[in-house]
């Protein structure tokens, strides 16, 4: 570059609102602009030819040698790295530095641009602090939920126990009307216990405290057992249930948790299918999607899908059905109640066993929830 142009370049750099320094592979400073000199409170003559790390605080020098220099030398550049400058007098100055290495005549030249981060540093610290606080609050909430749920179960068990004692007539005869009321208390108690157990499950899942006992699970037998259990609910709404699951279909999973997922899926299907509708359960090898049968046969996964003829779920709401505390259907006075945790828990459990829980649905065409699990 002709000398005159170089001088013009220096002038341009001196006027820039950010610091600029260039140095060679040995770290020797070749050029430094007025803005950076002013930040440092030094003269140009003091610094030309000195090692660039001399501009930095001691901690930043070590960081430069152990992280930044290797990064720029081997990758050619580094962006937005935070370092502290060591001015001639006064406190360290926080800067963000961008460096690029140019190669010419077998030697490297590094150009670094430095921006003060007073404001940005404040925001960044504020964001970090806010995030840490949010994380801590979220943890505290989970712990509180777990603790409360646990505490709430104790009085509920007492209610159930005393209802039973009353029903047995140990304290004197109970008339028909009273028995009916006791049964209502008992039903409400079980419902409430179910909700609390959901919250407790979710807290455990969030805290990673769930243990899985993986063993051979016969899915056909599992479905039959659950179907038998929900028979009364099906009958009361006049729903039909069709099951197409081979008795040989086995998964490597946790028996109880698989059952819990199935109960949840079927309860949901019953809740959201209008009277007289149909629910079906299919099972097989593969992931359950409309993939070709050959691929499915060789797959190391098995699936169970529960299909209902309910109102279905709009595409934009499908992603959030698995979020805890979310219920995608608008609340109406007579609409089904729940914590909105069932699907979140079920999917977490499925993933905890190495499987997954997915949804396919269209409004008016019902919903299909597919549970995949590793094949045994």
């Amino acid at each position: 570059m002709p000398h005159r142009e170089l001088a013009g370049m220096d002038e341009l750099l001196d006027g820039a609102p950010c610091g600029f320094v260039s140095f060679d592979d040995s770290g020797r400073i070749l050029r430094i602009n007025a803005t950076l000199l002013e930040m440092l409170g030094r003269e140009r003559d003091e610094l030309i030819g000195r090692h660039v790390e001399k501009l930095l605080s001691v901690g930043s020098r070590v960081f430069y040698q152990t992280h930044l220099f290797p990064l720029v030398r081997m990758h050619g550049r580094a962006e937005e790295i935070f370092l502290l400058l060591q001015p001639a007098t006064g406190d360290h100055i926080g800067v963000l530095i961008n460096i690029a290495r140019r190669e010419g005549d077998g030697a490297g030249t590094y150009d670094a641009v430095l921006v003060r981060v007073r404001e940005r540093q404040k925001y960044e610290q504020e964001l970090l602090r806010a995030r840490r606080e949010a994380d801590a609050a979220n943890r505290a909430k989970s712990e509180f939920l777990a603790m409360m749920s646990h505490e709430l179960r104790t009085p509920l068990n007492a209610i159930a126990g005393y209802v039973q004692l009353l029903e047995m007539g140990l304290q004197g005869p109970v008339n028909e009307k009273q028995l009916e009321m006791l049964e209502r208390i008992d039903r409400s108690q079980s419902h409430l216990l179910g909700l609390i157990n959901d919250i407790l499950d979710l807290s455990k899942l969030e805290a990673g405290g769930v243990e899985y006992v993986l063993e051979e699970v016969r899915l056909g037998a599992g479905v039959d057992a659950v179907a038998e259990m929900i028979e009364p609910q099906l009958a009361s709404k006049g729903l039909t249930l069709e099951v197409v699951v081979s008795p040989e279909l086995t998964a490597r999973a946790d028996q109880d948790k698989t059952r819990q997922i199935l109960i949840n899926l079927l309860s949901n299907a019953i809740k959201f299918t209008p009277a007289g509708g149909a629910i079906s359960i299919r099972g097989g090898a593969g992931a359950g999607a409309e993939a070709d049968a050959d691929a499915d046969a060789g797959s190391n996964m098995v699936f169970l899908s529960v299909h209902d003829t309910g109102i279905g779920i709009a595409p934009e709401k499908q992603a959030s059905v698995f979020d805890p505390f979310v219920q995608v259907h608008e609340k109406k006075a007579d609409s089904p109640q729940g914590t909105g945790l069932g699907l979140a828990i079920s999917r977490d459990l499925a993933r905890g066993m190495g499987g997954d829980l997915t949804l396919a649905s269209a409004p008016g065409e019902g919903s299909t929830f597919t549970l995949t699990l590793p094949r045994h």
Binding site: F69, P70, M74, H75, E80
Partner: protein, 271 residues
């Protein structure tokens, strides 16, 4: 088992020689740092590169806080790699903290190693008044840890994801992944503390393998007085002063570094 170690430490071997030359990277880096010097040795040696667990592309799942909070844990990585590849007559090239890690490994199984090449070694970074000057006070190391926190947690973890999504600059995210982000902040901090709070002065006297010390000029991490100390304290060591400045001569001045290594090895191979 050997396969597990090779994957765990991301081991790479190449070169057409038979004698193994095992390169151990320093704190803050990974095996890529050797890229400028290995070509000079490929013809005559079998080059072995690896990443310590917790660095580079090692298997982070194998990291263990207790093991990797002491340099001995890292020395075990070197020995694990030697065992997995059944290496003998090894020339171990260690940069910075890996000089001391190499010393620890060689003291445990001296029969495996032919030479140690120690680039910028320091047996203790923190001053121990009145007799030992390592170059640092504890507060200086705290300053480093703060820089790491700011650039790992403050930056890489928090803000980098936003930039990584920047479709105009996909290489940006990639680079960070390849350098800072591949090292977990917790693991990096653990390595930093194991490195800078270590005191391996007593281990130098136990070295039974001949060694070359490459001392840079104007190296603030391993000053010349420390290099001289290492040479005095290590039996069978040779000190070579480089014109290269800074702490990473194999990256800043690869030719001079290669030449110093080759000259040392040539002299040693004369019967």
């Amino acid at each position: 088992m050997p396969q597990d170690i090779l994957a765990r430490n991301n081991v790479r071997t190449f070169g057409s020689g038979t004698q193994p030359m095992l390169f151990a990277h320093g704190f803050g880096c990974d095996q890529n740092m050797w890229r400028l010097v290995t070509p000079a040795f490929e013809r005559d040696y079998r080059i072995v590169l690896f990443d310590y667990v917790g660095s580079g592309r090692s298997d982070a799942a194998a990291w263990d806080a207790r093991r990797y909070s002491k340099l001995d844990g890292y020395a075990q990585d070197i020995l694990d790699v030697c065992h997995a590849l059944d290496l003998d007559d090894v020339i171990l090239v260690g940069h910075s903290v890996s000089s001391m890690i190499g010393v620890l490994a060689a003291n445990r199984e001296p029969e495996r190693f032919a030479h140690l090449i120690l680039i910028g070694p320091s047996p203790r970074y923190i001053n121990d008044a009145p007799d030992y000057v390592g170059g640092f006070e504890r507060a200086d190391i705290d300053g480093l840890l703060e820089m790491m926190d700011r650039n790992f947690i403050g930056w890489a973890n928090f803000l980098a994801p936003a930039i990584m999504k920047n479709p105009d600059r996909p290489e940006l995210g990639e680079e960070l992944t390849a350098s800072f982000c591949s090292t977990d902040p917790v693991m990096a901090r653990c390595f930093a503390e194991a490195t800078f709070f270590a005191d391996n002065r007593d281990d130098l006297g136990r070295v039974r393998v001949p060694s070359l010390i490459l001392q840079c000029s104007d190296d603030m991490i391993a000053p010349e007085a420390v290099g001289a100390y290492v040479q005095r304290a290590t039996p069978g060591s040779t000190l070579r002063q480089l014109a290269a400045t800074g702490h990473c001569p194999h990256m800043s001045h690869p030719e001079e570094t290669v030449q110093a290594m080759q000259e040392y090895l040539a002299v040693q191979s004369i019967p």
